[in-house]
Amino acid sequence: MATTEKTELSILSEIGRISNSSAGLPKKLHRIVEVVALGMGKDGASVFLIDRSGKTVTLAAAIGLHQEAVGKMSFPIGMGIAGWVAEQKVPLALEDPYSDPRFAYVPESGIEKFTSLVAAPIMDQDECLGVIFALSSAVWRAASSEITLLTTAANQISGVIRNARMFQDIQDRLAALATIYEIGLALTSTLDLEPLLALIARNSTQSLRAQGCTIRLMNLPEIASHNTFSSYSIVGDVISEMDARFGGIVMERVVREKNPILIQDTTRDPVLADGCGVAAASIISVPLLFRDKVIGVITLYNKEEGRPFTEDDLQFLATVASGAAVAVENAAMYERMEDLAIEARARAQELSILYDIGTAMSATLDLDRLLRIILTAATMGGSGLGFNRALLLLTNERTNTLQGMMGVGPTSWEEAGRAWSEVSNSHKSLMEWIQTGALFERRDSALNTLAKGIRVSLLPKEEVLALTVLNKKPYNVTDAAGDPLVSPELRDTLKVNSFATVPLIAKDRVIGVILVDNMFTQRLITEVDIRFLNLFAHQAALAIENAIIHTNLETMNRDIRAMHKQLVQSEKMAALGAMMAEITHEIRNPLVSIGGFTRRLAKKLRDAEDKKYIDIILGEVARLEGIIHDNLSYIKELAPRLEEGDINDILGEILTLYEDEFAERRIHVERDFSPSLPRLMIDAQQIKQGLINLLKNAMEAMENGGALSIRSYSAPETREAAIEIGDTGPGISDKARQNIFNPYYTTKPRGTGLGLSITNRIVKAHKGRIELRNRESGGSIFTIKLPFPENKST
């Protein structure tokens, strides 16, 4: 007995010493089974531990068994001797275990060389942590004291295991914290979304020793990358298959519940049970939450070693996910910020260019210089808009046309290359170009001539330049050849297949159009270009409007001064004329009497001497009459003073003059001026007077309002320009028609009867003719036809 007690004490003190050593649990257990086998005088001993799932016991250390079996030999709880003892939590001694029904033989474990055994549960309070065996190759009927000794040793071991497990837990937790910290560091190391997602996937997979991971981001408007999908797998295709089968369903569940999900075994899940041929899996999936909104889901598949995921794993992944969510949102936000920053930079650059151009444009009020600055800004790279060529057209309200004014840009590749390298080498701003005056040196470039040749009528029609004005909006023509809006003339003039037009709008009125193209670089004109060009055009339009107003003021000022001078001159002349008329009247009549009666007297005289005196008198009378005639020759003739003039301009002026009266009389004006009318040799003042007479006649014919049609057209077959003035009045009777051009003939109670005869005289003096016809629909039409200039081939 004393020996047994002594042995017992030495075994327990040895176990106590081992448990306080710094070795790890496997080493400690190995030392403990050595001590137990030695102390009990047996040739074998072993320890099985119940794993954390509580479902199996696994060999953790052994003496006398094959060491390869350690960590591999295991039984479910309740199976085998170890399983039975772990379940029943009572010791068991078997002299012949092989005949016991509870025994389960495990080949190549080395158990076959033993004959008898004793097993005791390793208890910690009420929980069983494992089983300890003492093994004997000799037949061994164990005494109760020996069973008690093993049980006591087992109790001592429980402390070792518990401490080791607690230590392991702490180690694991520290490791998890370290991992989370590392992931946190990693998450802040990149702001690019794609690498970030890959990093999260890889770290999560490795930390939890999973086989694969997928991350999906929700298609949320505030996340720049839609449906971003990232996966990391250390097994490959198997995980891809699993994810294809389970990923969507699990994600949907996580998003709906906004909570992590742990699925230990898909075959035991009501929805996922049918794997459709995909291997069973253990899955944990957690939402990426940002401000209580699910922005994505991270899902892990299958732990290594075939074990299911645990609550601890889920907790760990949730912790990682909370950091990851912030990082993902940051990355997404950064992406948005970058986009915004790029846009802001572009805006700032545009503004700076517009500012430069604005400054340049405000530097002059001279229209010609201003147009050149505008077009240069449109064609300059760097501080300008950078188009290859730019043309400027202005509207003419009188003739209702759009007229090309100026073009800036190279005419050939060689010239383009030279000009652009000059610009880029000099690094001059637009303002500097203007100050050096280099812009204004070459005025008659081929493009300028080309621009001046463009003239488009602004009647409503499907033509791109007219539409730019009429619809007040830009047009981006990408295929001129196939675009029905581009007239063949314009195509032939420009010789490019893509160009853009923008209206110049000042005070809600279209004053012109800018046309740009990239003839040489062939760079496509983008919507961004158009938007910028439009901003620019708006600014340019205001500057042009100012310059035009300024020019008009100057012209008006000059005209007024000239008129004043003329007025002074004509007043003098009028005074002189009046005086001359008086003198003429007063002198001519007496001269007629003197001369007339002297002639009569001469007829009666026979004396030659007397006749000589009479002749002297008659001679002097003739001389005085001659002096009077010469002095009166300054009085001007009716013959027209012919100068080159534009009929459409004159018509426009007249219509403007009577605008108010038309409105007052409720007369609607329909104008149709031919833009191809040649310039005629006319006395503009007389023609204007003649047309006004016709116009007044037409207005008086429409007492209750009506439609006045003014038309100009060219009749090349008779080489005549025609002007039609039509009314919707009662028309002209046959009787009136015969007399209508005779002076003093009138059908109106207060008419003078001179208007139409004056018009007739004026037209005849221009070698033209006047025609009159009644319309079938009522009203009459007067047509004036004036001949084309002699030596012009149009």
């Binding site: 008329a581 003429t584 009247h585 001519r588 009549n589 007496p590 001269l591 007629v592 009497s593 003197i594 001369g595 007339g596 009666f597 002297t598 002639r599 009569r600 008659l618 009378v621 003739a622 009459e625 005639h629 009166l632 009085i635 001007k636 003739e637 009716l638 005779n742 002076p743 003093y744 001179l754 005869s757 004056i758 005289r761």
Partner: protein, 116 residues
């Protein structure tokens, strides 16, 4: 015998024209302004009128318009010291325009041409 009405506010001119035209074989009545001229036209029918432009009562243009209103077919020769009336639109409906001259041959020729 064809009747000619001479209208002129200068007494001497009236006398000269009357003598000259009478000598040519016409029956001449001379008055000194438009009002009298129109009154004479109411009394009898004339074949020709010579009409001065600047007169005290009713000027030539006005007289001419009224004469043509009474008898549009009556030939009227404007006889005036003013060359510029030739360019006045109002004078265009006259049948001839003769600037007064001491040499009456142009007047004689014009009268002969119109009266045949």
């Amino acid at each position: 015998m064809k009747k000619i009405l001479v209208v002129d506010d200068e007494e001497n001119i009236r006398a000269l024209y009357k003598e000259e035209l009478t000598e040519m074989g016409y029956d001449v009545i001379a008055v000194h302004d438009g009002v009298q001229a129109l009154a004479e036209m109411d009394k009898m029918k004339f074949d020709l009128v010579t009409l001065d432009m600047r007169m005290k009562e009713m000027d030539g243009i006005e007289t001419l318009r009224k004469m043509k209103g009474k008898d549009a077919a009556l030939p009227v020769i404007i006889s005036t010291a003013y060359e510029e009336y030739k360019h006045d639109f109002g004078s265009w409906c006259s049948d001839a325009y003769v600037v007064k001259s001491s040499d009456l041959s142009l007047l004689r020729d014009t009268v002969k041409k119109i009266l045949g």
